[in-house]
Amino acid sequence: MMSVLAVGMLATVMLTVNTNVQDNNNAVQMSQYRIMASSLATSTIQRATGLAFDQNTVNCNVTSTSSLTAAGALGVETGEIDSVENTFNDFDDYNRFHKWVKGDSIFFRSADFYVHSTVDYVQITGNAIVTSASPTYTKRITVYVSSPYMATDTITASTLYSYWYFR
């Protein structure tokens, strides 16, 4: 009877140790994926801020917000594909943008990630930045990065982008 109890206790200890080991391994892997996910979010934001502010400012400037794309029309234009960044030519093309970044052993040694983003016009109301229903000179991109390897975690990053031009 004592032997049976001893074996039972040992089994309990072993299970606890294994559980802790697995939890630690999981935490280590998750932190790696989160680092990569935040890098992907930053890369997407960097690419977006390298484009023109609006479709109507690609080749010229505007002097009024009424000349900018309507708030409900933010997104890709004709000829552009919402999952192919190479076809984008302005900042709000990243509205409803989505793509999978697949890991491989050579060029991207990490897990698979899903990147999608939204773009909206914003304005300051009180002390808060809120979405504007009409065009303004400032847009906000919000990038979401998730992965099947990150369980329910989603990395979110956003930035504001304002219209400016040199004279």
């Binding site: 391994n25 280590v28 790696q32 680092i35 890098s39 992907l40 930053t42 960097q46 190479n86």
Partner: protein, 212 residues
């Protein structure tokens, strides 16, 4: 002592030995796992430190506190290759902030060998204003730069001088391993275990590149 008592004693000894071996094996596995986790943590910390420095420096390509001294940011990149880059910027050399004097910054990857245990690890050198090279021994195994033009086409490396101005964005790919193996048997190469962390990010070459 009866025969059954002897059987009990022998059986108890066998069971005790079996339990003892299980405990020892579990402890050894736990130790190995702890070492591996510590190695992984160090590896990721090294990666984060490296990326913080790289992001800070690359974000300031073409920046100068006195804009008249660097009027054209697109001319800031002086050398662009797959594992090295040299560019103009304005560094905070004395802790009081950028001084308005244009500085040069040169990143390049050293050769393999010379690291403790990890033959693949190299030093990533950061040279300021042609001063003696200073590097970080953080286990960098791969530092790759990919250059894109405004149409998102890859620019072949080394980038010729005439095409340096066309660099619109730079993709940094960085792999870091531990400089010391985490496996218990460190002598045999096949038993050495090095944790690896990977980072990749694309950055604009100059923030204020375009007239929008």
């Amino acid at each position: 002592m009866g025969f059954s008592t002897m059987i009990d004693l022998i059986g108890s000894s066998v069971i005790f030995g079996w339990l003892f071996l299980i405990t020892i094996t579990a402890k050894q596995a736990n130790n190995e796992d702890f070492q591996a986790n510590q190695g992984e943590l160090l590896c990721q910390q090294n990666l984060v430190e490296l990326t913080k420095t790289l992001e800070y420096d690359f974000r300031k390509i073409g920046y100068c506190k006195e804009p008249d001294r660097l009027p054209n940011p697109t001319l800031a990149i002086l050398l662009a290759d797959s594992t090295r880059i040299k560019f103009l910027t304005d560094l905070d050399l004395d802790g009081t902030g950028p001084d308005g004097i244009v500085d040069s910054l040169y990143y390049y990857l050293g050769t393999t060998g010379g690291m403790m245990n990890n033959a693949n690890a190299r030093i990533l050198y950061r040279v300021v204003n042609n001063l003696p090279a200073a590097g970080s021994n953080l286990g960098v195994t791969s530092f790759k730069l990919t250059y894109y033009d405004q149409s998102n086409n890859v620019i072949a490396t080394p980038v010729p001088a005439a095409k340096l101005q066309t660099i619109f964005s730079i993709q940094i790919s960085l792999s870091v391993q531990n400089v010391v193996a985490s496996a218990l048997a460190e002598t045999a190469p096949v038993n050495q275990q090095f944790q690896t962390a990977f980072y990749q990010q694309r950055r604009l070459s100059t923030v204020n590149y375009l007239n929008r």
